[in-house]
């Protein structure tokens, strides 16, 4: 259960982090995670949407349809102030978690 929560939490953190700079649409978020992680983290097609909808329901992100002439209309998501707070908090949590792992596994800082 704890593990599941972690996994869920990591996806949430990743999505929130992608929206920090500017609003993005769903497909773009997945692409951006893949690009920033150097291809190490990929998601199955469509698997990010449950995360997005959950975050939206919690009020951490907000989606809005945007129509750009000559393009398809897309739903863009942006961070809400609450989402920004959560992102900061989750980053801190992850830092501690990873730090604890490193200490426990005896991995030294580079």
């Amino acid at each position: 259960m704890e593990d599941n929560a972690r996994k869920k939490g990591s996806a949430e953190l990743l999505v929130l982090a992608q929206l920090e700079g500017r609003p993005r649409h769903g497909y773009e978020i997945g692409q951006e995670i893949e690009r920033r992680s150097g291809g190490a983290v990929t998601f199955q097609i469509a698997s990010l949407y449950p995360v997005l909808y959950r975050l939206e329901r919690q009020g951490w992100i907000a989606g809005r349809w945007v129509e750009i002439p000559g393009q398809r209309r897309r739903r863009y998501y942006r961070l809400t102030p609450a989402g920004r707070r959560i992102l900061r908090q989750q980053r801190r949590d992850w830092h501690e978690f990873v730090g604890a792992l490193q200490r426990a596994a005896g991995v030294e800082h580079a």
Partner: protein
């Protein structure tokens, strides 16, 4: 391509939630699959493989569906916002929304009222928006350029043509040399552009096409596009480097619309166009929204001024500092005020001019230049000759449609009042249940607003159609004026403003009336306070009648004026005459004997076309028929005889074509050649004014023109109109084509025995037989040309009639509605009267009498109003008194008749009331 939405729909179990949300989720997921699919295609997969890959790389459906369900979950309950000041706006919005919803429901329950009200407002608002759209396009729309408010014209930039005199007073035409010097020395403008004051209308060939196409060319300086801050749609625009050495820059920029019409696609490739023997390369296309700085005029090509000598060889003087034919457009430097710019500009202007006079400037030139100045004119909305022409008619129309809207508002107000009577119980009930009156008034106003916004929305549609129709009506017969009519923010703002204003006009009083009740009284009884509302309704109807009288009187005046104008004797017969404009220069001709021979050949050739009676070249025909010169006089005089004399050069058959009557002597003949005695035919006015009667055989000269020295008068023709139908009798002289070979005669007139429209192509074919390279354009009947002069008069007469009828119709509906309502309410009364022995005639007289009182009140007010506004139209009437009793009387009588007619139906119905039924209702 697979149907992604269907794919998602097929696989996704309903996650729950509202349908709209579900549709959004399906759309979003489908987009995701499509993006992935397209990425695989880009990576080189075949469609089949790409689609299979998408399906396998996707989150398995059962899991995804479960996750979606969990993510969407049961709806989170909205936290109730605590009551408090902070949330006021939110509550306010929510209440307005609720009122809006309520209003829509109310309207759905009364569809008859809703449809009638919306339609009437749509007509009223639509007519206003249509006229305003035209006004906006002509007067207010800013040029589609960078920061148009920084642009100024140097001078009025109205006069077209060239002048060689020294500037004196307000100056608007400048030489090319002055432009270059000024551009360099001005301290207040960041950039200055020069535009040739007139559009060059010529012919050219696209690419290697054999076909000659008409071309409108605007000659501009290389700084033109940079000054305007434009970026090209394709290719590049002209720059300073394209306007350096005279004759060395054969480049052109095309207007986007023209480029599209001539086969220019999205893939831009430079094309060539041959013009007057020079081949130009079209290096780019201007932005689609841009068609020059002259509203209502669209050049096809912009060509550098350095090419003036090539484009129009006979009207060019790039190096001459006194050949002034350019308009200047400049951009103010940021932070420079218009008054700073003004004083610096005048200073630099005079300094440069004085520099041109050399070391020993003539005193008179110095004096002139000291008086010369350049008024700076804001150029944000460009310039337009049409403004002077249509400014007044459009303002009159704006006034007229404003009145129509008022009448429509009065009708809607009446409908609301009638509805108010029906809703008094509802209102009373709501008041009794604790609603405040303010709350109810707001509710009623929101209903009115909804009606008015619906009307405005429909009105926009009406306007888009009507403004196009208007534009077609004001355009000359040959081509629709290029004006941008699509609604912009100004037009939309205007329409929205109208919608709100109409609510205030028609909504407020009924809303106050409807709610001015005490709950107790109304809940108990059904009739109360009705008569007061009814009085108000009658005042409204009287107002409608009054406005209709004003509009009918106006229509009568304009119609009368138009009649007078059309009845003016022209002195020539405009029927069955075709006027063509020939461009011989496009075929490479220069003035001289060769061209003269070709002109004669064309005349001969056309005369043999079946159906043609006669044809003749002329320097100009009507509509600018000749040019005026003041130094015309008999031999031995000082040549300063006012007034100006009209001079024209014509072929032998000109008088026959125009049917100008020969009064004495002979006309122009084939024998009047370059080697024979110089002759002229003059008109009666010249015979009288210049020669005091016996003119035949007299000799006169025109200034110091060698060609027209000692010209003998061989004939006298009747007077005619040469420029416009409302000019006075002007003196005129006609010189023979063959004795004046240094002019290119552009106009050709042909008298036909049959419908001239049917013969145009045969005439063109015979011109092509003589020389296929001669351009032919502006083929019009003389009747059309005469008609163009009364264009604004006809337009305003036609529209005033249309709107006056519309207004009268609306007023009649108002009268009918009010009378019908009143007779229905008085049904019991009439029943009793008839039971007591009144005849149907008496009842009818009673109802019609009431209508007549309204009519008389309205007509009296209308006459006063009409007299009050009559001076607004004085300048637009031709030989008609703006307080013409005939027009006023006609309008008054018509309106009384209409009122009685509208009241007749309700009156007749009142007589059919069965007394027993009416009494039972009591």
């Amino acid at each position: 391509m697979p149907d992604f939405k269907q794919y998602v729909r097929d696989h996704m179990p309903a996650p729950g939630g509202p349908d709209a949300r579900q549709a959004e989720i399906i759309e979003e997921l489908a987009l995701e699959f499509q993006e992935a699919y397209e990425r695989f295609l880009r990576a080189g997969m075949s469609p089949d493989v790409a689609w299979r890959t998408v399906q396998t790389a996707a989150r398995p459906w059962p899991r995804l569906a479960g996750e979606l369900r969990a993510a969407l979950g049961p709806p989170v309950p909205e936290p109730r916002p605590p009551e408090g000041v902070r949330l006021r706006p939110l509550r306010w919005i929510a209440e307005w929304r609720r009122d809006g919803g309520l209003a829509l429901r109310q309207l759905r329950q009364a569809p008859g009222f809703a449809v009638a009200a919306v339609l009437m407002l749509a007509l009223g608002i639509g007519a206003n928006t249509a006229v305003f759209s035209l006004l906006n396009a002509l007067m207010m729309r800013p040029l589609p350029v960078l920061q148009p408010q920084q642009l100024v014209f140097l001078g009025a930039a109205h006069a077209e043509g060239d002048t060689e005199g020294y500037p004196d007073g307000a100056t608007q035409a400048f030489s090319y040399r002055f432009f270059r010097d000024f551009h360099q020395r001005t301290a207040v403008f960041s950039d200055v552009a020069a535009i040739l004051s007139y559009l060059v209308e010529t012919h050219g060939r696209m690419g290697g096409d054999p076909e000659l196409v008409p071309l409108k060319v605007e000659l501009v300086s290389g700084s033109y596009f940079p000054t305007l801050g434009l970026t090209p749609a394709y290719g590049r625009l002209l720059g300073p480097g394209d306007d350096v050495t005279p004759g060395a820059h054969p480049v052109a920029v095309a207007r986007a619309g023209w480029w599209r019409d001539h086969g220019g696609g999205a893939a831009f490739a430079p094309r060539s166009v041959a013009l007057n023997g020079t081949v130009y390369t079209i290096v780019g296309v201007a932005p689609a929204s841009f068609s020059g700085v002259t509203v209502g005029q669209a050049p096809d090509l912009w060509i550098p001024l350095a090419m003036q000598g090539q484009v129009s060889p006979d009207r060019s003087g790039l190096a001459d500092p006194w050949y002034q034919t350019l308009h200047l457009l400049a951009r103010l430097k940021p932070g420079v005020s218009i008054s700073q710019a003004q004083s610096n500009t005048d200073f630099v202007f005079r300094k440069i001019l004085i520099g041109y006079l050399g070391v020993a400037p003539p005193a008179d030139a110095m004096a002139d230049i000291q008086h010369a100045f350049i008024p700076l004119v804001p150029a944000a909305t460009g310039r337009s000759r049409l403004r002077g022409e249509f400014d007044q008619p459009l303002q009159t129309l704006m006034f007229v449609v404003g009145l129509v809207l008022l009448i429509a508002c009065a009708n809607v107000a009446n409908l609301l009042l009638a509805r108010a009577a029906r809703r008094r119980r509802e209102m009373a009930l709501r008041l009794a249940l604790g609603a405040t009156r303010a709350r109810l008034v707001r509710q009623l106003l929101v209903e009115s607003l909804v009606v008015s916004l619906l009307g405005a929305g429909l009105g926009l549609a009406v306007a888009s159609w009507a403004s196009r129709l208007l534009l077609a009506m004001v355009s000359p017969a040959s081509a629709t004026l290029p004006l941008v009519l699509s609604p912009d923010a100004t037009v939309l703002g205007f329409t929205l403003g109208l919608a709100v204003a109409t609510v205030l006009l028609f909504g407020i009083l009924p809303a106050l009336r409807t709610t001015a009740i005490s709950p107790g009284t109304v809940l108990k009884q059904t009739e109360a306070r009705g008569s007061e509302s009814h009085r108000f309704a009658r005042v409204l109807v009287a107002g409608q009648v009054a406005i209709s009288v004003v509009l009918l009187a106006g229509a009568a005046l304009f119609l009368q004026s138009l009649h007078r104008r059309l009845a003016i004797p022209l002195g020539f017969d405009p029927d069955n005459v075709l006027r063509l404009e020939l461009d011989a220069r496009a075929a490479g001709y220069q003035p001289g004997a060769r061209l003269n021979a070709v002109q004669q050949a064309i005349e001969t050739r056309i005369s043999s076309v079946p159906g043609v009676e006669a044809s003749s070249f002329a320097l100009s025909v009507f509509d600018g028929g000749g040019w005026r010169q003041s130094d015309v006089g008999p031999r031995g005089t000082d040549y300063q005889l006012p007034p100006h004399t009209i001079l024209n050069i014509v072929g032998p058959d000109y008088f026959a074509v125009m049917r100008m009557r020969l009064i004495a002597g002979r006309g122009i003949e084939n024998g009047d050649t370059a080697t024979s005695r110089r002759v002229a035919v003059i008109n009666e006015a010249m015979a009288r004014k210049t020669f005091r009667g016996s003119a035949l055989g007299q000799v006169f000269s025109v200034g110091n023109n060698a060609n027209w020295r000692d010209v003998s008068v061989v004939g006298i023709v009747s007077n005619a109109k040469y420029f416009s139908p409302d000019e006075n009798d002007l003196p005129a002289a006609f010189f023979p084509e063959r004795q004046n070979q240094e002019y290119i005669l552009n106009s050709l007139v042909v008298r036909t025995a049959i419908d001239p429209g049917a013969i145009g192509s045969a005439i063109q074919a015979s011109i092509a037989d003589v020389d296929p390279n001669i351009g032919v354009e502006n083929i019009r009947t003389l009747r059309q040309m005469v008609g163009d002069f009364s264009l604004d008069a006809r337009l305003i007469a036609a529209l005033c009639i249309v709107f006056a009828l519309l207004a009268t119709g609306l007023a009649a509906i108002g009268v009918y509605a009010v009378m019908a309502y009143s007779t229905a309410r008085r049904g019991t009364e009439f029943g009793i009267r008839m039971a007591l022995g009144a005849q149907p005639r008496d009842v009818r007289r009673n109802v019609l009498g009431a209508a007549l009182r309204v009519a008389i009140l309205g007509v009296a007010a209308g006459l006063v109003l009409a007299l009050a506004v009559s001076r607004l139209v004085v300048s637009q009437l031709y030989q008609v008194d703006s307080t013409s009793p005939a027009a006023l009387a006609a309008a008054a009588l018509a309106m009384v008749a209409v009122t009685l007619l509208a009241a007749y139906l309700p009156a007749r119905r009142a007589t059919r009331i069965d007394p027993s039924i009416a009494l039972r209702g009591e």
